[in-house]
Every structure is written in C-alpha cells, then in structure tokens.
C-alpha cells in the first residue's frame, strides 16, 4: 500500500515523509493544507525522508513557502529537480481575462454574422447555378449515384414518420373541427376545412419541419464531419468539385423529394381526417372523396406541391451552408447543426408567409 503523505513540525523544523503525490494527497487534501499553513513559519524543512514527490505536491509546497526557497532545506537531488522546475515558473501566472461584454458590439457582431450567412447562401446559390450550367454542357458529370442516394435517404426513408405524424394531425384537426361544425349543423363543411388546410398549408409546413429536423440536421452533420476529417479536402485534391459532388446532389435531391413527400403526407393526413369524420360525423368516405374536388380547387394542390419544392430547396441550402461553415472542432459542429435546423425552420415559415401573400387570390373557392 502507498504510504500516506505525512508532515511533522518539531521546534521550527518541518519533516515530510511518505508519498507526496497527487493520488496519495487527494483523500486528505484539506488536512494537508491546514498542516502546511500551520507549518509555514518553519524555517527549516527536511524532505530527505520523502519517497516520492510529484509536481502537484511541489507546487503545494512552493506555495506554502511563499514562492521562495526556505532558508534551510534538506532534499534528495531528484526531488530538488522537481522543485526547481516549479521555482522556475513565474510567481504569478496571469489569468487570461474574459473579453468584456458590450451590448453594442455584441449586436453588431450578430448582425455581421447574419449578413455573412446571407452572403454565404447567395454564394452557394451562385455556385449551384454555375454547376448546373456546367452539368448541362457535360451531362456525363451528373452525380446520379449521389442524387439517387439522397432522394432515397431524404425521401423514401422519411415516408413512415411523415405518414404517422400526418395521420395523427389529420385525425386531430378533423375531430376538433367536427365538434365545432356539428354545433352549427354545418357538418359537410369538414371536407372544405380539411381539404384546404391540409393540402394547401399543413401538409407542406408539417413535412418541412420534420424534414428540416431529420434530413437538414443530417446534411449539416455529414458535411461538417467531412470537413473535420478533411474528406472535403481529399475530394478537391482528386479534382472533384465539392459543390458538384456533395452540395448539389443534396440540394437537388431534397428539392425533388420534398413535393413527393408532401403529396404522400397530405394524402395520409386527409385519410386520417376522413376516418375521424366518418366516426364522428357519420360522413361516408365515398361522400368525402366525391366532394373533395368540388370543395378544394386543384390550384391548392399545385400551391402545396410548389411550396414543397421551395421548402426542400431552402432546407437543403441552409443545411449545406451551415455544414460548410463547420470549423474542425466538436463545439462548432454542434452549434452549426443547431443553427441549421433553427434557421431552416424559420426560413420555411417565412417563405410560407410569402406564399400566403402572393397566392391569396388563387385557389380559394368563391362563395
């Protein structure tokens, strides 16, 4: 067993023995500190009985000596070396002060960062257009494999979860609307409410939020890790454009896949709504399907799919932009992934508002 560190003071002479190491000192650190503080006045120190002395203990002793050699010190040469190392350090280590917080500069920094993000995304779009132009001239360079992989990952694999969420939302809305409609005796308007709200608004937005959390974060993390592990650099050394091979398939893939997921989710949500309406209002499925085209002009479907297309593009663009901004450390990776998802969802809601304003005269049934 390790001999515990011991300190004895006898008539102005402090005698140390045992193992003075971090591991041995830890269990009785407070005791030792108190003893050292009490022994500070001792002018003569005897360390020759020490078995081990590590630098943590040396620092402790050196501080007890107030950063100076004691007048009378007996110590083995090996242990003296350890103490000398500590003695060679400057007495007061300057702490690095935290940068002062200034609300004006903080706001400015935030603004500049936002501008840099906007600029980065504009640059990315420009690069994308250049790549597309290049690919139109050289169709053989088109990354089919990556494209199909992305459509599969972001599209096909997202079908179950979007269906589940869509179905439940459809049931919920139908159930809640039915309660209200029944009190007005306006049961059959459930078709209008469900049709317009799900096809035009809820379907695309719901899918966008799910996909932003699911595929957007995955894209950011993937590109980010590729940057951390220098895979992106490896690509460019092989003469493979990172925007063509990594960014473009993701953006095009999600832009293609999103309208399809929107169609699927809206359909499942409507189905959920129909089921709930059948159980709650005794509205037959056949009646519902029969009346849907009459209640909901087909323009709403186009608007919904168009929204899906734009949302997909926005989510992938934001995700790729933040992925490329990841610095090679874990903190930056997590911060950028968070930012990508938050920005993507915010941007989707913003774009949705724009859609609402510019399509306010289209597809609304005249009463």
């Amino acid at each position: 067993m390790i001999d515990a560190p011991r300190l004895q003071v006898e008539s102005g002479k402090a005698v140390l023995s045992g193992h003075w190491t971090l591991a041995a000192m830890l269990p009785e650190l407070e005791d030792l500190r108190r003893q050292l503080a009490a022994a500070e006045a001792a002018s003569s120190w005897d360390l020759s009985g020490l078995e081990r002395l590590d630098s943590a203990a040396a620092v402790l002793l050196w501080r007890a000596w107030h950063n100076a050699w004691p007048a009378d010190l007996a110590v083995a040469p090996l242990h003296r070396q350890v103490l000398e190392r500590v003695a060679a350090l400057p007495p007061a280590m300057p702490a690095t002060p935290p940068p002062p917080f200034n609300p004006v500069t903080a706001l400015g920094a935030l603004l500049l960062q936002a501008l840099a993000n906007v600029r980065g995304m504009v640059v990315l779009v420009g690069q994308l257009l250049l790549d597309l132009a290049h690919l139109l001239r050289h169709p053989r360079d088109l990354p089919w494999r990556e494209l199909s992989a992305n459509i599969y990952k972001a599209g096909a694999q997202a079908l179950p979860v979007t269906a589940l969420v869509g179905f439940l939302i459809g049931v919920t809305i139908s159930y809640l609307s039915a309660l209200q409609l029944r009190s007005f005796g306006a049961d059959i308007f459930i078709v209008n409410i469900l049709g317009i709200s799900i096809i035009r608004e809820l379907g695309p937005v719901l899918v966008a939020v799910l996909v932003a959390g699911r595929s957007g974060s995955a894209m950011t993390a993937q590109i980010g890790v590729m940057r951390v592990t220098e895979e992106i650099d490896a690509l460019s050394t092989m003469g493979v454009s990172r925007s063509q091979r990594v960014v473009l398939p993701k953006i095009i893939g999600l832009t293609v896949a999103m309208p399809l997921i929107v169609l699927w989710t809206s359909a499942v949500a409507l189905f959920g709504g129909m089921l709930a309406a059948m159980l709650q209002l005794d509205l037959s499925l056949f009646y519902f399907v029969d009346n849907l085209p009459r209640a909901v002009p087909v323009a709403n479907l186009y608007i919904g799919l168009g929204k899906g297309l734009v949302f997909g593009f926005v989510i992938a663009l934001v995700a790729c932009h933040f992925g490329l901004r990841v610095k090679p450390d874990t903190e930056s990776l997590s911060a950028n992934t968070t930012r990508a998802v938050v920005t993507a969802i915010t941007a989707v809601i913003l774009v949705d508002a724009l859609f609402a304003i510019f399509t306010r005269r289209i597809g609304v049934p005249a009463l």
Binding site: M1, I2, T21, L22, A23, L26, L29, R52, D54, S55, A56, V59, L60, R63, L78, Q81, V82, R85, V86, A88, L89, M93, A95, T96, V228, K327, P328, D329, T330, E331, S332
Partner: protein, 251 residues
C-alpha cells in the same frame, strides 16, 4: 509496493465476430519498465492497449492494473485506477472544443479539489515539461501542428502525475528530428518521474532508444516477451524480418 506488477494480463483472448485477434496472451509489466509492443499491421497491438485501458473488454482472460481487476464492478475503485494512468492516443484525441490550456487543465479540474492558481501552475509546468511556451496554451487543437498535438496530448496524459503511461504510436507522423526529441522527452520524463511506460510502435529508432523490454505480437499470440536484447536475438521469422528489414531501410 513494487512487488505487484503494474499490468498483468492473463489468458487474454479477443475475437470480433468470427475473427480471432488474440489467443491466450499472458503479459506482465513491472514498475519502471518501458515495454514496447510491436507487431505487424492489424496484429491487434492497439486492441491489446485498449484492453489494458479497460476501453475494450477482452472475450477471455483478465486484465489487472495496479493489482485491481478491470472487470471489478466497483466504480470508485475503477476511477482510482484510471487516475493512476495516462494515455497518449495515436491522434492525440485532444478535446477540439477546448484550448490547449483547458485540455491539460481538464483532468485536474475533474478532481474538483484543486484551486485555480494550483491548476494554472500545474498546466504551465506540464507545458514547460513538453517544451511548449505558455503562449501556446491559448491555441485551439485545430491550430496545432502534428508534433505539437502529440506534445499537448502527452502533457495532458501527464497532468494527473500518472505512474503508468500508455503510448499509442508516439512518434508516428513526426519527422525524424521531432521524433527523436519526443523520444528523449519521454525518456527524461520516465527517468525523473519513475514512470512505467507501455508503448505501441513501429519505429525502430524509438524502440532502440526507449524500450527496456519488448513484446512481439504475431499469429494472434505473444511470440516473445522480455528484455530488448534477448528478444532481438530470437530466431523467429517475424522477429528476424521485423528487425532485419527495418535495419536495411535505415541504412
């Protein structure tokens, strides 16, 4: 206390699925030894090292560090054992979100009983030990060169004043000059601090100038283990080619 071996492996067997990595390996490392673990690529050197650290549970056999079985479920005991060893990972494994200073201070802070001034002095002491300037403490791991990462990682491994130091390819990726410096550094530290060192290496120079003992892994077994000079004289095809080939390369 020096009677009990620092590391004791008994009947270690490792398999990943149907692939057998180790069969029945016995190894004993005594206090103050510098053991070099050598073997061809994929012979499971790093795996064995990870088993010594308790990062990987072997499929068979037992690992004892400081006379404590790593399979012992007592968490307190396990933590105490971990504090007595330092590990230098092949690629440094520095915490990329923390600065160099914070990386070295991290294990010290985790003890939760050292004050800030003490930690600061210890970190600067370690930086000085691995011949880095205090100013380097502010840098982030991504801003360091390969050699500096190794040295910072060594400083972090030494932060808790370990009795056992495990090095995974300590000189891989360093130029010969740097690698010699690094070897000298570890040698000096080993002598002054009385460390036990276990290292995985491919580099014969490192082996020659540091190792007191050599363990050779080949054909899933430990085919030789003992003092450096003895092992090199063994007439086994792998040993002959390992030491012979590299000799030719050096000339």
């Amino acid at each position: 206390m020096s009677q009990a071996p620092v590391i004791e492996l008994r009947g270690i067997g490792t398999r990943f699925g149907s692939q057998v990595i180790h069969r029945d390996i016995d190894l004993r490392v005594d206090s103050g030894q510098i053991l070099a673990l050598v073997g061809g690529s994929g012979s499971g050197k790093t795996t064995l090292l990870r088993e010594m650290l308790g990062l990987l549970r072997p499929s068979a056999g037992s690992v004892r560090l400081f006379d404590v079985d790593l399979a012992n479920p007592d968490g307190q005991l396990q933590r105490a054992v971990r504090r007595r060893l330092g590990m230098l990972f092949q690629h440094g494994a520095l915490y990329s979100a923390l600065s160099v200073f914070e990386n070295i201070a991290f294990p010290l802070r985790e003890l939760r009983c050292l004050d800030e001034d003490w930690i600061r002095r210890l970190v600067h002491l370690k930086l000085d030990m691995v011949e880095l300037a205090p100013g380097h403490g502010r840098l982030m791991p991504a801003e360091l060169s390969g050699g500096m990462i190794k040295r910072v990682a060594l400083a972090r491994a030494l932060a808790l004043e370990p009795e056992l130091l495990l090095l995974d390819e300590p000189t891989a990726g360093l130029d010969p000059d740097r690698s010699q410096n690094f070897v000298d550094l570890v040698g000096t530290l080993q002598r002054t601090l009385g460390l036990t060192v276990v290292m995985v290496t491919h580099d014969l120079d490192t082996l020659d100038s540091l190792a007191s003992h050599i363990a050779v892994l080949a054909e899933q077994r430990l085919i030789a283990c003992g003092p450096e000079a003895e092992v090199k004289r063994l007439a086994h095809p792998f040993i002959a080619s390992f030491f012979g080939r590299d000799r030719r390369k050096l000339l």
